[in-house]
Each structure stands twice: as structure tokens, then as C-alpha cells.
Subunit: 473 residues, 2 copies
Amino acid sequence: MKKILSLILVLAIGHTIQAQMSMQEQDSLNLRKLYDMSLLNGQSYEWLDHLSNQIGGRLSGSVNAQRAVEYTKAELEKLGLDKVWLQPVMVPKWTRGVQEYAYVQPSQGPTTTVNITALGGSVATPETGLRGKVIEVQGIDDLTRYGKEQIEGKIVFYNRPMRPDLIHTFEAYGGCVDQRYAGAKEAAKYGAKGVIVRSLSHKIDDNPHTGSMSYGELPNEKRIPAAAISTKDAEYLSSLLKLDPEMDFYYKMNCRNFADVESYNVIGEITGSEFPEEIIVVGGHLDSWDLGDGSHDDGAGVVQSMEVLRLFKESGLRPKRTIRVVLFMNEENGLRGGNKYAEVAREKNENHIFALESDAGGFTPRGFSFDASDAQFKKIQSWEPLFKPYLIHYFEQGGSGADIGPLKGGNIVLAGLRPDSQRYFDHHHAATDTFDAVNKRELELGAATMASLVYLVDKYGFEKIQQKDEILK
Amino acid sequence: MKKILSLILVLAIGHTIQAQMSMQEQDSLNLRKLYDMSLLNGQSYEWLDHLSNQIGGRLSGSVNAQRAVEYTKAELEKLGLDKVWLQPVMVPKWTRGVQEYAYVQPSQGPTTTVNITALGGSVATPETGLRGKVIEVQGIDDLTRYGKEQIEGKIVFYNRPMRPDLIHTFEAYGGCVDQRYAGAKEAAKYGAKGVIVRSLSHKIDDNPHTGSMSYGELPNEKRIPAAAISTKDAEYLSSLLKLDPEMDFYYKMNCRNFADVESYNVIGEITGSEFPEEIIVVGGHLDSWDLGDGSHDDGAGVVQSMEVLRLFKESGLRPKRTIRVVLFMNEENGLRGGNKYAEVAREKNENHIFALESDAGGFTPRGFSFDASDAQFKKIQSWEPLFKPYLIHYFEQGGSGADIGPLKGGNIVLAGLRPDSQRYFDHHHAATDTFDAVNKRELELGAATMASLVYLVDKYGFEKIQQKDEILK
């Protein structure tokens, strides 16, 4: 009897192992298929070419943003998805106006122009420009240290650089972005008349990097103009100030804030064959800053997300769950698209099980970061070996993406594609964020990597974490 | 008694674990130190700037190659190494002459110029250029298929592209490079009068990529001129041929082969404090092709290798074994430097335990490949966790580098740095291999990654595999 039991056990285990093996083999072949299709006949690069070179920078509320909405909707319609639609959302409208102009004027000697760009959301300078003495600080904390007596009537120059020793460049960015986002609001409280912020880039060059800023609850009359200065000119300004603290800084900007306008999230889906009510979202943001053409931020994420659905359609891998591409509007200066999408999803009581965002550039993919429970993450980790042939090795918990963030809650797993980040901030929000900086293969590898993860999530799903009230029932 | 034994065992294990922990912690701190120094105060980028922008392309036997020898020797001398010297080596000298010129002439309609470049080592065309009908083939194997009757008197156009579906781009390169290296030699046997080879690049653009070729034992009078054509013009030529098989191709090159000239490997070392006779080599090659400035191939490897020694000097991590930087001459078209170095090492009966080469571009490092025994590789794998914070994940057996290859044999472990390879062949051997294509952080991360591996090898060494005769003693 014991022998028979052992035999049954051995057979049962053998059977299970075999079934697992063939499942893994099947997955392995399907991943290979997705990568092959993306690398051999991908459409992401061609889409990006159009988005970048035929449309260009796509600031929320601009004509280009609207053109991007129409273009991507039309392209999604060509894919033969089950549904394509526009989701209306009100977005802020801010315009740069003519190019900014700035110079430094030493106490003696000639003036020198420096490269600046208005931060998104900033008020303009007076029409004749703004001139003032400069106080250099290393961050918002320094304001308390110098106090009103040293700051009032001056231009505050935030010059804390991104740390080069951090391997994850997003961490270095995170350690400096408060200067850009809240620098003007905080300096205004001390009576500053303007702020200049060192561009958030590791690279020492002439390109200023824009980005969002906010005055918070500051009344209109207290709002002061905020600009980014190129890293090279930040270093120049800093050395000049050491020699000549009484030098003047002059800048002129005629950016403007308008009332909100209507825009759209662009959405398309393949309805799931078995569990249509379980929704998987894959997305990037359609809007971009206006200095470059937004190829890395986030044209890449947009076309990769579209490619995920195209790969499913073309490969014949019919998903069990609903796979939805969402091209979010207004990530850069408002996150209105991301918020609206989550709001509508909640209203409709939709069941989102997974959302994957690509918004870290079109560089060689390294893996993903996840916002998931330990049990969910463990399941994801079991898929890691399938990605090894594609050099995808980074699977970590913590952080996903801005646009999908509002979906958080309940059982949903959130994920962010993590491409190699070393070059990202050389281009981010600057005139150098252009199509030529995106490598075709790297972009396509990213799309295939996303499609592969979506394929696995669709196939295996996630166990539902029982809510407290459900357990009590 | 049993209890006491158990206690002793527990204490002993505890002690060992603690010792291991502190060893790992120490290693972890020292790696962090190397990365910090490279990222915060590295010298590799500055060196590369000089090598690329002040010197430029450094073809063996050229004035620039000699300038690079003198510059790097002088810079190594500034580091305060224990020894710096030049190792003479005879190298081939081939010159391109004035820029090549080529056009296609359809049976009807206007001629169009196309972008070509002479392959290194090729003979010139006649002074008035070479004109002929073209036969397109997908590789050397096709020659047999078409035979002498279809090839004789024609120009053979090798047009097999690099496979885009291979994730490792070097594999795709390996699958095509025979057309470039041996295409002329083989086509000449069938009476071809010239060869045109599709550039080895994934990117479809106007830049032809040069590279080495060989006529083997072919007598001088049978040697036919060989050029690379840009990928874009390869596609153009191919479509044109389909429409008009009788079209003419014309090209003119005045490259020349000269007698060998004397050049040098540049060598510097820090003598080991405990085992000075055990030598660790780290290196790249000083020569480069002449179209760009050789920043990725292999300026990057040169400055990273120099940086490894600088990091040891500056960090105060005194190596137990001798660490030697070797800047090899003539990797591109002869490998004379690598061969000479190994030859001298054997003559002197030097004991090389490890050699690490960087010759795959200055891109984000991903890891290493090793030529090592299973036991040696197992030891290396035990260090993997130390590299995780730096996103270094690729540790594989198989392949190292061309210049250190001749050192193979006995107990030596060979290794090659493996940077991200997706963009490499966009630049390789083309006018686009320039300084601006190298990212400072990526270069510095590579140098620190190399230094870290050298640090671990120096600290722990490798067990000597006993030779048969030693065992018999």
C-alpha cells in the first residue's frame, strides 16, 4: 500500500512538473514571438517618427496636442481593436510665447547672455523684463537660513545639482525637483521677486530644461516668474556671483496661463475572451513639453503602449482579459488625464487588475518596478526566468507611474517600465528630447518587454486579496 | 559532551558567518568607493575628450596613432604608477587616401552617387575608377550557387543584413562579418573584379562602416578592391538592381598598403604588494578606424582601463597582485599588439592570472563574459550580489576579447566588459563613432565596474588548476 501511494505521488508530481514545463515552454515561445514581431516588423518607431517629426511638442491645450489625439485615435482604429474612444478631460493651458531672454550684468565689464526657459505654469516677467540682484541657495531649506532680510527684492537662484553618485538617475532627480516645483512659491514668501532654477540634468551643457511648477495657494499678485537656467550657465552664474555678488541678472518671459480647455485621453481596447470585466491597462502620456518634440517623454511610452495592442492583434494571442491602451493627456502639468481616467473607472465600477505605464524614456528596457502586495510580487518574480534571454533583469517593488497612480487601491497591481536611465535626464524636458535621440531597437525592445508582461498577467491573472468585509461575510 | 560539541559547532559557524559578513561588507564599501570616485571625480571622460577631439582617428601606423601612444604614456606617468613603458611592435600601415567616390548608372536616366568607404586593407581601384555590372548575393555561400559564369567580370554586392531579432547585437554582427572580411578573397576566385559589402549596422542611414578585410594568400595581381556601402544605399542598390539588372556601378578608391612600421603597446603597472609575480591585465586598444574619432571603438576601453589604475592609486586600495594596464596597438587590422604582448609574456615566463578587456563601446555596463573553468566561474558568480546595486547583472561564460585572446592557456581567466550593445553598431567603424555619442555617466560606470571586478580578483585570486605534470610530481 505504501509503495502504491508513493507511486501515485511520484506520478502525480511527474505529471505536474511536465504540465508546468510545457506551460513554461509555451510562454517562452510566445515571448519570443512578441519580441520577434516587435523587432522585425514593429510599428512603434514609425509612429514615433510621425508623432515627433510631423506633429512635434504637444503641450496640453495646444493645437499639437489635439493633432496627437486625432492621429493616435486614427492609428488605433486601423488596428481593428474592439473599441476606440476619446475620454474628455479639462486641461490647463499655458503658453510660452516668444523665446525667453536673459543676461548677466557684472558690476563692471560686458553683459553675457545666458540660456533660460520659463517653467511650465510660471507667470511672465513685466513686459520690460525683470532685473535684480541674485542670491544663490542650495535648496528651499536655505531660505529659512537667509531669511527675509537677505532675500527680499532679490532673485533666488536654486543651484543644487543632481547627485552624480546615485546609480538610479530618477533618485537624483527626486532629490532636486522640489526646487523647480515649489521654489517660486517658497521664495515668494520671503519677498523674492523672481527665481532661477538650475536645470535638472547631469549633463553640463547649454540646454535649459523646463518642467512643471506650482504657486499653490499663493494669490496672483504674489506670484513671481520662474525660469530654469542651463547647467552650464548655472555653473557660470555661480562662479560669477562669487567674484561679484552685486551683479545684476535680467530676464524676460512672456508666458501666459489661460482658462482650462477641453482635451482627451485616447483609449482603445481588445475585449477579453474569458474575463472581459477584468481590465489590464497599458499606457503613456500623449502631452509633452514644447522645447523638443517629446520623443522620449513620452512619445516612446505612447507608441510602445499602442504597439502592445498591435502585437496582441497581429500575433493571434487572443487575451482572456480586456487589454486597454490609455494615452493620457496632461501628465506634465496637471495629471488631469490620469485623474479623469481613474474617476471614470470608479464611477463605472470597473475592475482594473493591472496597469503598466511607460514614462521613463525609450531606452533599452531593464525591467519593471511594481506597486504590488508581497504575494502578487512573488507571482511576478516567478516569471523572471522567461525574461532572461532579453536581458530583462530588474524586478523590484516600489513605484510605478504618475498617470496610473490614481488607479491605486484594492487588488490592482501597478507597474512601470524601467529602461536604462543614464541618458534620460540629458533629454528630459529640453530641446534635446528629439526623435534622433531614440534608438529604434531600444524602443522596440521596450514595447516587446511590456507586451510580454501583459501577456503573462493576462494569462495567469492575480489572486484577489480578500477584503476585510468579504472575509467577514 | 554532545551539547558541548554542538555549542562549539554553533560558535564556529557563527564566527565564520560573522567573518564572511564583515568581508562582504568591506567589499561592498570598497565597491561603493570605486563607483563614487569614478562618478564624482572620474578622469575617463576628460581623457576620452582629448583622445577623440584633440587626436582623433588613430589608424595603426598613422601620425595620430603615434600621438595617442605619446599622450597615454604621458598620462599614465602622471598617475604615479610603479612602472610605465612602451612595448615595440611592428604594425601594418594602410592609408585611405582621398575620400572614396561611387555612383550607380542605370541603363536609362541619371546617375546617383552612393556612400561607400574602402575596407581596411583593400587595394585601390584603377586610377580612373572601376566600373562594372553588379551581382547581388546574400553571402559567400551564394558564390558557389551562381558560379564563375555569372560572377566573372562583375562586381559582387554582398547584401546580407544583420539580423534584427537577435538580442545580442554582437551575435548579429558575427553572422555577417565574413562578407566583409573574406568577401573579396572569395569573390576574386570566381573572377569578380570588385566587391561592395553592405555596412554592418542595424541602422538604415547614409554612413558606410569600414573594417578589416583580408585577401589571405591571394597573389597581388588577383586582389580586387573592396568597399562598404551604407545600409541605405545598399537597400537602394538592391531595389535598383531588381528593376534594372544591367545597371553599372562605378567606384574609385586610392587606398594603399605600405610596409610594416614600428609602433607600440602602452603599458603601466602597479606592482603587487604580496604577490607581485601574479599579473592582472586590464586593457583596450589604442588604434581605431579613421572615419570617426574612435570614441566607442575603442577610446572608451582605453580610458576605462587607465581609470582602473587611477582608481586604485587614488583610493588607497593597494593591490596584492600586480595590476597592469595594457593599451594594445593594432586590434583593428592585425591584432599585432595583442599577439606581441602575449609573446613577450611567454618569453618572460610571466604569470598572468586574469585579463579584462573593454572593447564593446562606452555604453551602460551590464556585466561581463568570461573565459574560465567552471570552478573559476563559480567563484566569480559568488561576487554577483556585490554588483547588484550598480545594476550589473550579466555574468556569463563564453568569450572575452580579441587583444587578450592570445594570453589564453593555463590558469588565466579572461573577461570582457559587456556594455549595453543595442546602439553599438550604429557607430562601429563609421563616421558616427564620435565623442558626442559617448555618455559621461555610462563611460564612468563602465570604468567603476571594471575596477570592481579587478578589485575582487586581486583580493581573492583564483585557485590554480593543477596541471597534469604537477599532479604527477
